[in-house]
């Protein structure tokens, strides 16, 4: 008999029952503690390129992951096979593996008293993301691209306009009796136009809007026009001589800089001594003007959830306050390693140990608009896109490829490309001279426009 005859249909899947069943089977089979995660996702995506539908994708996927402890030994298994045979293999496999791993004094589930789920509606799920028929979703992508193509005669090609929608349900259960679940929705519109100048050289840029509800998306037309504006301004970009000038980071790239603070403050990097923030709790690591917060509780946020990957409620954590490092971001394991308390930042994939994940991670905005910040720079570089991933969290060494616009006498002048901006991240945090007022959550990490002093631009 083929195994698939026992498979439950997606609609009939009771994820809660499966998760608790997997945990109790693991306990019966000899685990001293266990937790299981089960998820079910539905996705739709389409790309319209040069006014024609290019791709259309629709799918559902499911998976489950089990983590078992036998005393202080831990192991995990995961599977997309929801048949009875698949579940037995998941449980048996995890217990077999746990015989072989080492005793780890810090291993275990969170303390029972730490478990729980935020009450109330966190506004994470809106069924309107799938309320339109596919034809109308394609129309969103088509309108975004059309607006980009029509915005400027120099927009001559395109990687397309896109519309994506997805919903996902997640259940976590553990042997201490915790069972929690939540559902989240997501949708986005993108436009990626290509501009060409009279010499034939091409530039690409993009813009997008993302939201948990269709009703909150920016209009496809505004996405297309903004994408075109960002693309056309790159035409004719050139290299500039190497120099040290003030650098202004557009909020899209500033968010990527802030993400490095998150990585450096993550418990995993701290206890392994692989972060320049190891041992710096309570010390001044940034300028007086810097306050950085992680908040997993903001209604509707991209980084919001009622509980973390271990069943600990999310919360608001002040990571840096007026330049002083106040807290690391921890799950229960890294908290035990560092003799601290979990901050509800466990992130859990299907496989392996929980890592550290952010809630809504942001830098508190300042007073000035981006225009005012640029106007205050005599001679400098406004970075609009990074290329490459050059940061070393152990040393703080930072060097990334950059594209943007040259600032002369407080005004944006010509586009610049094929240069790098480099410095040491420890110094960069102390040299943030200006913080914009333009904080906006476009993903779970958000940062206003920043002006940083003392960095090196390498070009000609």
């Amino acid at each position: 008999m083929p195994a698939n005859t026992e498979t439950l249909s997606s609609a009939a899947l009771d994820l809660r029952k499966i998760a608790t069943d997997v945990v109790s089977r693991a306990m019966k089979a000899g685990a001293s503690a266990a937790d299981a995660i089960v998820r079910d996702e539905t996705e739709f995506s389409t790309v319209v390129r040069m006014r024609e539908v290019e791709t259309l994708k629709e799918a559902g996927s499911r998976g489950m992951g089990l983590r078992v402890f036998v005393g202080k030994r831990m192991a995990s298994t995961y599977s997309s096979d929801f048949s009875r045979e698949g579940i037995e293999r998941l449980v048996g496999g995890a217990l077999e593996l746990a015989k072989l791993t080492s005793e780890d004094p810090s291993a275990g589930l969170p303390d029972e008293s730490d478990l729980g789920s935020l009450p109330g509606d966190l506004k994470l799920y809106y069924d309107d993301v799938f309320s339109f028929p596919p034809e109308q979703r394609i129309e969103y992508a088509r309108r975004a691209e059309k607006a980009a193509l029509e915005a400027d005669p120099r927009i001559r090609n395109s990687e397309g306009g896109g519309f994506d929608a997805s919903t996902g349900r997640k259940v976590l259960a553990n042997s201490l009796g915790f069972v929690g679940e939540y559902e989240r929705s997501y949708c986005s519109i993108t436009a990626v136009p290509i501009a060409q100048d009279e010499n034939g050289s091409m530039q690409r840029d993009y813009w997008y809007s993302a939201a948990r509800s269709l009703a909150r998306l920016d209009s496809p037309e505004s996405i297309g026009r903004e994408a075109a504006r960002r693309t056309v301004r790159r035409l004719g970009a050139r290299k500039v001589p190497s120099t040290k000038v003030p650098i202004v980071f557009d909020r899209t790239v500033a968010a990527s800089i802030l993400a490095h603070v998150f990585e450096a403050a993550s418990g995993d990097a701290i206890y392994r001594h692989s972060s320049f923030l190891t041992g710096k709790l309570g010390e001044k690591i940034a300028g007086e003007n810097i306050t950085i917060i992680d908040d997993g509780t903001m209604p509707g946020g991209f980084g919001t959830s009622p509980f973390d990957g271990e069943g600990v409620p999310t919360r608001k954590t002040v990571v840096v306050e007026n330049g002083v490092l106040k807290s690391y971001l921890l799950n229960s394991y890294t908290a035990r390693k560092l003799s601290l308390q979990t901050t509800g930042n466990a992130s859990r994939g299907l496989a392996g140990n929980p890592g550290i994940g952010s809630g809504n991670f942001f830098l508190q905005p300042g007073q000035h608009s981006p225009q005012q910040i640029i106007a205050g720079v005599q001679r400098g570089f406004f970075v609009t896109e990074f290329l490459g991933f050059g940061i070393n969290l152990v040393t703080g060494d930072f060097s990334r490829g950059a594209t943007g616009l040259w600032i002369e006498n407080g005004e944006l002048t010509f586009p610049v490309e094929e240069v790098t901006v480099a410095g040491n991240f420890k110094e960069m945090l102390k040299n943030i001279a200006e913080i914009g007022s333009d904080l906006e959550f476009r993903s779970s990490t958000a940062c206003p426009t920043l002006r940083i002093e003392g960095m090196t631009l390498a070009g000609e």
Binding site: S61, A94, G388, S399, E418, T420, A458, E460
Partner: protein
Amino acid sequence: MTQNQSLFFQKFGITPNDLQRYLSEALSAGGEYADLYFEYLTSTSISVDEGIVKSASQGISAGCGVRVLAGERTGYAHTDDLAPEKILRAARTAALIARGPGQQPVQAFKETAVHQLYQISSPSADAEIAAKLDLVMRADRAARAYDPRIVQMRGVYADELRQILVIGSDGTFADDIQPMARMSILCIAKNGNTSARGQSGGGGRVGLDYFNSEKTPEYFAAEAARQAIIQLDAREAPAGEMEVVLGPGWPGILLHEAIGHGLEADFNRKGTSAFSGLIGKRVASEKCTVVDNGTLPSRRGSINVDDEGSPTQNTVLIEKGILKGYLSDKLSSKLMGLPDTGNGRRESYEHIPMPRMTNTYMLSGDDAPQDIIRSVKRGVYAVNFGGGQVDITSGKFVFSASEAYMIEGGQVTAPLRNCTLIGNGPDALTKVSMVGNDLQLDEGVGTCGKDGQSVPVGVGIPTIKLDKMTVGGTAS
């Protein structure tokens, strides 16, 4: 019936008649071509951290992706449930990319003759977990024994066995069992207040015995530890344009970023690549010949057939500096009237295939490596890299050196930190003035990302000199 076909036919109860039915359903709305990609993937990962094996994990993922092509349009749907009604539903969903009556018949299946590139007696996925655990523990001991300044060591052993069956309405019927194993090591060195990091790793489509004979855990551990110790004394990299020498092996990532992506056929079909329209033109110095070769035995980037069921091949991209060809999949080859080079790859059954690299490398030249270094007055010698990225449209690319040195007066001198290199794809290789006689392929650690899909790749290069490139450090 091969061992692999029997997995899908017996375990999941799929029959050749079912396959016909699924493809007919996929073509029912007027699609011109349809294919089914069945995948059954098992993975194992074991890591050592702080001297103990903190975690071990194993997983299974299985499913089927259905693709339908109609002109330039692609419809795609997938299911992780291999029950006939679920695959039929996916086929019906993907079919809707086309509009019209079904016209294309499904051709009679013809089995693709495949290479035999994975020369192993038994895949490491079948080996005892205890033997894999032993590998990471050996690496841990070796890293710590290397130098007392090594304060942290993390090692991971991971393997997988991917079984695929690709069925196309053009009669394609191909299957493959693709093994993969890899070790990766990260060391942190500390001396007073200075910390540094070193990384190494390798593997390929090899069995467990590879790590006991060819490249041992001790070898990888010592390499990561060596790099971390060297970095303790590194000084700031310079900023600005200068001569750059790339060492052999992994620095071949230059080719991957600077030209490889730009030569993927999809970008050129759409005219979005900085290389669009440059076939037959000079894009490199005449010392440069670059190939993408998916048929090298046991390499990480090699596969017997690609993920569309086409045999992989050795494709010349640049011959003596002249651009010769693109890397293509079925869709681009059909639309562009080019040969299919067997480069249609995908991350998993959840993903649409597209042109991707396999093993991309430059052939050896005539220069002795020491002569190349001796010829440089002041420049950078980069021998190991982290990652890289390219903007296909503008052609600009960067890659970050994890181990690099100054060259002063023809001599390799101080180690450098924070050394990023940036250049322009279509002219970077025109500045290659010397090519060494020492081609090396990388150790087998590369993973390439495109459109959110990751696939394993290889790179290689002999020692080369570029007369001018921008080094993105902070020192003057």
